[in-house]
């Protein structure tokens, strides 16, 4: 069961220029889905379409199994969001900002101190938001998104403006909400490293196209598949000739020789071959691409 499902979602701001091209996003219920992509990849446009902030041009959007076009208000009742910069009224206090949304959601007033406590702003209820730092505004925006006890949280780069400690706290909070309250979370970021410790599923978007979608395990698998044996010798050109006769996939990469991942016995054999040909081996190691490199590779290709 998917909490969010988009089918053939495309969007353009100017004729002939697709900002989104046939996006088929599937966010499983109960997951923390990391929506990754460099700046300008189409993340925010996708999220704005999912929230109904942009008029849909092509494709379908289903949330909680219901069509967004036909059930917008009912869907929004069970959803909390934070898109880009915080949406808060500077002339009002933190509690007043929450109170005016409490009126709309008609949730208990007791939720106001609860959510402020949850995001680490328990003593700021009567402070004007204009006096808040960006990090505090970001936390208050999360409190706003949590006010109605949503089943789904959509967060667009929520760690913007947070210090490293704040990022860790935010990560822990989101994990706790997901585990304890079974809230599905769709979180966008342009940094894989920032969310890889948080997410269970990943979608990678670039230039409006969804390049990868799957579990984090799938991505890690991809990482392992892309690991290779790297070596360097006193004569890499001759070493390459020798190795290519055994492993045709061997190639030169950034001043080193690269081979596909090999078993331990095969690595020992490679070493033996090089030594028998009077070559001096300076470096011989399995190098694994980190997830960030995989992400960059997907984006580059």
């Amino acid at each position: 069961m998917y909490c969010i499902e988009t089918t053939h979602l495309s969007h353009q701001f100017a004729p002939g220029k697709n900002i989104l091209d046939d996006i088929n996003l599937q966010v499983p219920t109960g997951s923390i889905y990391g929506f990754l992509g460099p700046n300008g990849a189409g993340k925010t446009t996708t999220l704005r379409l999912i929230l109904g902030l942009l008029k849909k041009q092509k494709g379908e959007i289903h949330i909680f199994g219901q069509s967004l076009a036909q059930n917008r208000v009912a869907i929004l009742r069970k959803l909390g969001s934070l898109i880009e910069t915080p949406s808060l009224y500077g002339h009002l206090t933190a509690a007043e900002n929450l109170l005016l949304l409490q009126k709309i959601y008609q949730c208990p007033k007791a939720r106001i101190p609860e959510v402020l406590e949850l995001v680490g702003l328990p003593d700021t209820a009567n402070k004007k938001v204009s006096q808040f730092s960006l990090g505090m505004k970001q936390r208050l925006s999360i409190a706003v998104a949590l006010l109605n006890q949503p089943d789904l949280l959509i967060l667009d780069e929520p760690t913007n403006g947070l210090d490293p400690n704040g990022i860790i706290e935010m990560r822990e909070l989101l994990k706790r909400l997901n585990q304890e309250q079974q809230i599905t979370i769709l979180i966008s970021s342009h940094l894989l490293g920032e969310i890889e410790k948080l997410v269970s599923h990943v979608g990678i978007i670039h230039k409006g196209q969804l390049l990868f979608e799957g579990t984090l395990q799938d991505l890690i698998q991809k990482q392992q598949e892309s690991s290779c044996l790297k070596l360097s010798t006193n004569d890499n050109a001759r070493a390459l000739q020798i190795l290519q006769s055994i492993y045709p996939a061997a190639q030169q990469q950034n001043g080193k020789l690269a081979l596909p991942p090999l078993a331990n016995a095969q690595i020992a054999e490679v070493n033996r071959q090089l030594l028998q040909n009077d070559l001096e081996v300076y470096h011989l190691a399995i190098e694994q691409n980190d997830l960030e490199s995989i992400f960059m590779e997907l984006v580059k290709n």
């Binding site: 902030l53 942009l54 959601y105």
Partner: protein
């Protein structure tokens, strides 16, 4: 009125608390009464005979409307309406409002209702202000008599309602400009331009076609100074037609806007 709309209006009303629009309405309502009161207090000997006139309150109230009808009220509406709608743009809050469980119509109507209520508030404050500003010199100086007869509430209410109706076209068009255009200068610029044009047009034969001039026309009619007469409809009907027309246009364009928030 359904519950969702009621809560939405409550929520929109709360947003105006301590906002620039709130202070503008508060100060705007008491500005003219304050100035008139000050003048009367300073020149009490000259104006004291007016207190003995039988229609003191009506004349006093019209005195207040002289500055309000042409300039202060239209400018106040231009500014207050722009400021209320701009609360969302200034705070990047449209996307928050439009992702709450309310229909787009509810959001539009709730905000519009708050603008109408704020203008109503301005009228109430102005009337209360005029009463106290008129009564204060009499209370303060023992030799100045308190105006004879009861305060003519009914007539004042009728006059206020008339002025309220003549202001509706300005409010409707300014509301549209403020919620449709992100740039505050569009609504403000058009507003200032239209108010200036309306004042200039008061001596024009077809001034009845200029929706921003109805307050001034109504005032001149009450004073018996209006040279031209509308050969189409009474200005109150014209004001209502403009009001509903602008409201409808604004509603349709708001609903069909491609990018919201």
């Amino acid at each position: 009125m359904n519950a969702t709309l009621f809560y939405s209006i409550q929520s929109e009303w709360m947003k105006t608390k301590r906002s620039a629009a709130f202070w503008l309405v508060l100060l705007g309502g008491f500005f003219t009464p304050g100035i008139l009161c000050l003048i009367y207090m300073v020149y009490i000997e000259k104006v004291a005979p007016a207190y003995s006139e039988p229609k003191f309150w009506i004349k006093w109230y019209l005195n207040g409307w002289e500055s309000m009808a042409y300039l202060l009220l239209p400018m106040g509406i231009v500014l207050a309406t722009s400021l209320i709608a701009q609360l969302e743009y200034k705070n990047n809050a449209w996307k928050q409002v439009l992702t709450t469980p309310q229909s787009l119509s509810t959001v539009f109507i709730a905000k519009y209702t708050v603008v109408l209520l704020m203008m109503f508030q301005l009228f109430v404050l102005f009337t209360i202000g005029m009463y106290f500003a008129g009564a204060l010199p009499a209370w303060y100086y023992g030799h100045v008599p308190y105006p004879k007869g009861p305060f003519p509430w009914r007539t004042i209410l009728q006059m206020s309602t008339s002025f309220y109706i003549t202001s509706l076209p300005i409010l409707a068009l300014q509301y549209f400009l403020s919620i449709y255009f992100k740039n505050f200068m569009v609504s403000l610029g058009v507003g200032i331009l239209m108010v200036t044009a309306a004042i200039t047009a008061l001596s024009w034969r077809y001034v009845y076609l200029v929706p921003y001039s109805y307050g001034g026309i109504h005032f001149m009619q009450l004073q018996g100074r209006m040279r031209f007469k509308s050969n189409i409809l009474d200005i109150h009907y014209l004001a209502l037609i403009y009001f509903f027309g602008f409201t409808l246009l604004s509603y349709v364009l708001y609903l069909t806007k491609k990018e919201k928030g």
